[in-house]
């Protein structure tokens, strides 16, 4: 399990190759990459600033990964979240999961993203031509995380 909080960009293929190398004949690798959107509520985004709570961030991500491991048979897990100033179309977040079971890799990867979105202490500020504002938490993200409590 690796968790990285960093300002610099990441290289998907390096992360993927690390998962492949560190896994025991995995069979399935699922990756999620989140990118900065260029619009928000019909305004053009010129930049985004990502703040986080050092220490708690790593703790909460580790707890989310532990939860995923308790639910599914996964091999390696890797999470990267960038902080600081980002431009539209830049990579923000990466979650990669390897497993010998395809369904486990998909579920664990999506589960980690859903809880990262609702539990990990990151906050986004969007900069537009009209000004800057803190992004509001979305009901759809809360719903996405809640739905895991109904499932095995």
């Amino acid at each position: 399990m690796t968790v990285k909080i960093q300002r610099q960009d990441f290289d998907l293929s390096a992360e993927y190759e690390a998962l492949r190398r560190d896994s025991r004949s995995p069979g399935a690798i699922v990756t999620f990459t989140g990118l900065v959107r260029d619009t928000s509520k019909h305004q053009l985004i010129t930049a985004m600033e990502l703040e986080h709570y050092p220490g708690m961030t790593e703790k909460s991500l580790s707890a989310i990964i532990d939860d995923a491991r308790a639910r599914w048979d996964v091999d390696q897990v890797s999470v990267i979240h960038r902080i600081g100033r980002l431009l539209p179309d830049e990579q923000i977040v990466f979650v990669g999961v390897s497993s010998s079971h395809r369904a486990a890799a998909f579920s664990a990867c999506e589960f980690i993203m859903d809880f990262l979105k609702t539990r990990a202490p990151f906050w986004k500020k969007e900069f537009t031509e009209q000004g800057s504002y803190w992004v509001d938490a979305k009901d759809s993200d809360r719903d996405a995380a809640d739905r895991w409590s109904d499932q095995g």
Binding site: G34, L50, E51, H52, Y53, G55, M56, K59, H81, I92, V93, M113, L116, K117, T118, R119, A120, P121, F122, W123, K124, K125, W134, V135, D136, A137, K138, D141
Partner: protein, 84 residues
């Protein structure tokens, strides 16, 4: 007793403070007691800390208004998270 407090995102901007150390009266104060003390500082503090969506963490774990604070604890106030 001395505690450390962090403020994040829009809470930080509203109270114009990122980090402070604060001497609290002994006697098992709760997060609610701390919020009441901080809210005395002005309307911006009172308003920011009475937001119904306000989250609080004690020692980097999500806590509630009823959580008891101990000497040396790290308390953080922040809005709902929006990373990813």
């Amino acid at each position: 007793m001395l505690v450390e407090i962090w403020y994040f995102a829009r809470i930080k901007e509203a109270v114009d403070c990122e980090h402070e150390k604060l001497e609290l009266p002994d006697g098992n104060p709760t997060v609610r007691d701390l919020v009441d003390i901080l809210s005395q500082r002005g309307e911006n503090w009172r308003k920011a800390l009475s937001d119904e969506n306000l989250l609080v963490a004690v020692n980097q774990t999500v806590a509630s208004m009823q959580t008891t604070i101990a000497e040396g604890d790290e308390i953080a106030f922040f809005p709902p998270v929006t990373g990813g």
